[in-house]
């Protein structure tokens, strides 16, 4: 079959099974856009800003496990995509970003809309390619998808000079069936010696904790994790990125750990004699001061990325491989040694944990104390949302207090349902991410729990939702401030709210949503909260923007004491520390 470069690119994407491409056109990408016009299989989603395209592709990838695909033009199109690429990179999300580039003969001449995309994106991509000729496109696309999705996943950029997609030069097209990159061999299966050592440590422990993160979700390891723990009966905590990989409503689940983790999760980690880290990377929001982290714990670290192990916290036992496979191997060996598994040994430890939970655990029924004499509690907004959606919705979020409330109070029983920017902490992520999720799962409830600060960073995507008829529910936890910033200013800067409020400049979100053709619901009183949210969810075919005015003085707790604190050092409320 003879095809031009632009068609070769689109055909290659189709060979990879791509159904949606999120993008925005411009000069250097116009040959590619013409190829999109001439076919029907690959649906292009026109966003309103390239950042939105990357987050939408990212949301699609997080929800489905399949790579998200983005198409932008050169120069400003490419630079606008950078925040979204960095967001995906920090959370190890598979993504392929195709950027138009000026024609080869213009590169290096400061041509119109020329920018060194490969150079700008280098530190925030897993890898990148420049297309030198149309004939190379199939091989590059094949390699890009392989790199993006294997090992520790991540974004890959393909920079495409305009002349390589010219419609008037035809080439033979055939798509490679296999790919082998000799310098890239991420580990797949663990070594048996590592598994034996891990099992030995597991059998010895009396105060174990399983600490699972986003890597366990990326590796689709939730079933294996569950089965392993049916044998072990260990307490489990998840990172912000790992929520859902172990069922949150299970009695063994301690809640999230870290900066705003539960008291019992942080205390368990601090006092453990064994930590089994599964696809988690001991981020500084988890460890607090690394020197003071879990002083008596042996660490077993399961990861696919060599460089993540012993980077911050030294692992006593490292198990390299896809964590799904490593967990399967541990299960196999434990099944052989079933008579050595003594669940009674950890009974005192579990009792201790339950005491911690009773002492300072979160109140998951704050909505029971509602009255119109009091402001709406942001936590209660999440609790109602959880109840109304039966805990089954996809929840995307932004960054700030609302994000932490969502993570603390929406109990995720399944992986890939909690879609948030954990690593980069990108405000503006939530709405476009919800677009990607809703396209992937049109029949599922998709909710964006956001703040009035974050939503304004990509609010233009409300227009995209109109164009593609995406009935997302947006719950804007409106505290009329950059709440998380304000919280830090309250706690650390003597209450000096430097540039964290907007002085009555907020838009009327209801009218704004309506102007895009959506429905807006304003909630200002506790007595309107439950019914207002129920009404929003009853409007199945509509995007509903629920603007909920909450107590502006509320803080997120627990909160780790920093600097120089350990995981047992927490603020429990405005006045009390552990």
């Amino acid at each position: 079959m003879k095809l031009a470069g632009n068609d070769i690119l689109i055909q290659s994407l189709l060979k990879e099974g791509v159904e949606y491409i999120f993008g925005y056109p411009g000069g250097a990408a116009l040959h590619i856009y013409d190829a999109i016009f001439n076919q029907k299989k690959l649906q292009h989603i026109l966003v309103r800003h390239e950042q939105g395209a990357t987050h939408a592709a990212d949301g699609y990838a997080r929800a489905t496990g399949k790579p998200g695909v983005v198409l932008v033009t050169s120069g400003p199109g490419a630079t606008n995509a950078i925040t979204g690429i960095a967001t995906a990179f920090m959370d190890s999300i598979p993504m392929v970003v195709i950027s138009g580039q000026v024609a080869k003969h213009l590169i290096g001449t400061d041509a119109f809309q020329e920018t060194d995309m490969i150079g700008i994106s280098r530190p925030i991509v897993k890898h990148s390619f420049t297309v030198e000729s149309a004939q190379k496109i199939p091989e590059i696309v094949k390699q890009a998808f392989h790199i993006a999705t294997s090992g520790r996943p991540g974004p890959v950029v393909i920079d495409v000079p305009k002349d390589t997609t010219a419609p008037d030069k035809l080439f033979d097209f055939s798509y490679p069936s296999k790919v082998k990159i000799r310098s890239y061999n991420p580990p797949v299966n663990p070594k048996s010696s590592q598994i034996e050592r891990a099992v030995e440590a597991i059998l010895e422990s009396e105060k174990p904790v399983i600490y699972a993160g986003g890597g366990a979700i990326n590796s689709n390891a939730s079933k294996e994790l569950f089965l392993l723990n049916e044998i072990l009966d260990f307490p489990v905590t998840n990172t912000l990125m790992g929520l859902g990989v172990y069922p949150a409503t299970h009695e063994r689940f301690l809640g999230m750990l870290g900066m705003h983790g539960t008291y019992q999760a942080n205390m368990s980690m601090h006092n453990a004699d064994l930590i089994i880290a599964i696809g988690a990377r001991f981020d500084d929001r988890i460890t607090n001061t690394p020197k003071l982290f879990a002083p008596n714990a042996k660490i077993i670290h399961l990861d696919v990325d060599y460089s993540s192990v012993s980077k911050i916290i030294e692992a006593n036992i490292a198990v390299f491989g896809q964590v799904k496979n490593s967990l399967s191997e541990i299960i196999k060996l434990l099944n052989k040694k079933r008579d050595l598994v003594d669940n009674k040994k950890i009974k005192p430890w579990k009792e201790q944990i339950s005491e911690w939970k009773d002492l300072h655990g979160l109140n998951h029924q704050m909505y029971l104390n509602e009255s119109d004499n009091k402001s709406i509690m942001p936590q209660a907004v999440v609790q109602h949302t959880y109840n109304i959606t039966n805990g089954r919705a996809f929840i995307t979020s932004d960054v700030g207090q609302h994000q932490m409330f969502a993570a603390q109070y929406y109990h995720f029983d399944e992986p890939r349902k909690w879609i948030n920017s954990g690593g980069l902490g990108t405000m503006g992520f939530g709405l476009p991410a919800a677009i990607g999720v809703k396209l992937a799962y049109p029949k599922e409830e998709v909710v964006c729990i956001t703040g009035e600060g974050s939503i304004q960073m990509c609010i233009q995507e409300l227009s995209t939702c109109t164009q593609y008829n995406l009935p997302i529910k947006i719950i804007n936890i409106n505290n009329e401030a950059l709440g998380m910033v304000k919280q830090w200013q309250d706690m650390i800067y003597g209450g000096r709210h430097s540039e964290s409020t907007y002085q009555s400049s907020l838009p009327n979100f209801i009218e704004l949503a309506e102007s895009y053709g959506h429905v807006g619901i304003r909630i200002e009183k506790n007595s309107e909260l439950k019914s207002g949210l129920e009404k929003a969810f009853s409007l199945k075919d509509k995007l509903v923007f629920v603007d909920v005015y909450v107590d502006p003085d509320e803080h997120v707790y627990p909160m780790l004491v920093a600097p120089n604190g350990s995981l047992k050092d927490m603020w429990l409320d405005k006045d009390n520390k552990t």
């Binding site: 000799r182 310098s183 890239y184 060599y306 012993s310 980077k311």
Partner: protein, 95 residues
Amino acid sequence: MIRRKLSIILENKPGALVRVVGLFHQRGYNIESLHVDPVIELKKYKYVEDNLNIKIAEGEVSHLKITTTVNDNLLRQILRQINKLIDVLMAEEIK
């Protein structure tokens, strides 16, 4: 902190070298000296072929030598980060 010599074999492709060099800056490590040549004398590099079970053609890969001053833990981290780069075939310390 000790002076270390690193030996890195990477694909001789445009953009490969700058990824390694860029990594030092991104991760906050300092480069003291740097030397790079395409690999011509193949018999000296048989260990690479044996290690990775591949065949290398003349000029196809480059040999990069870098000196840097770091402690043991950081050295391991640097080597793992470099090895993770897609175009790098091997990175190790020369003792």
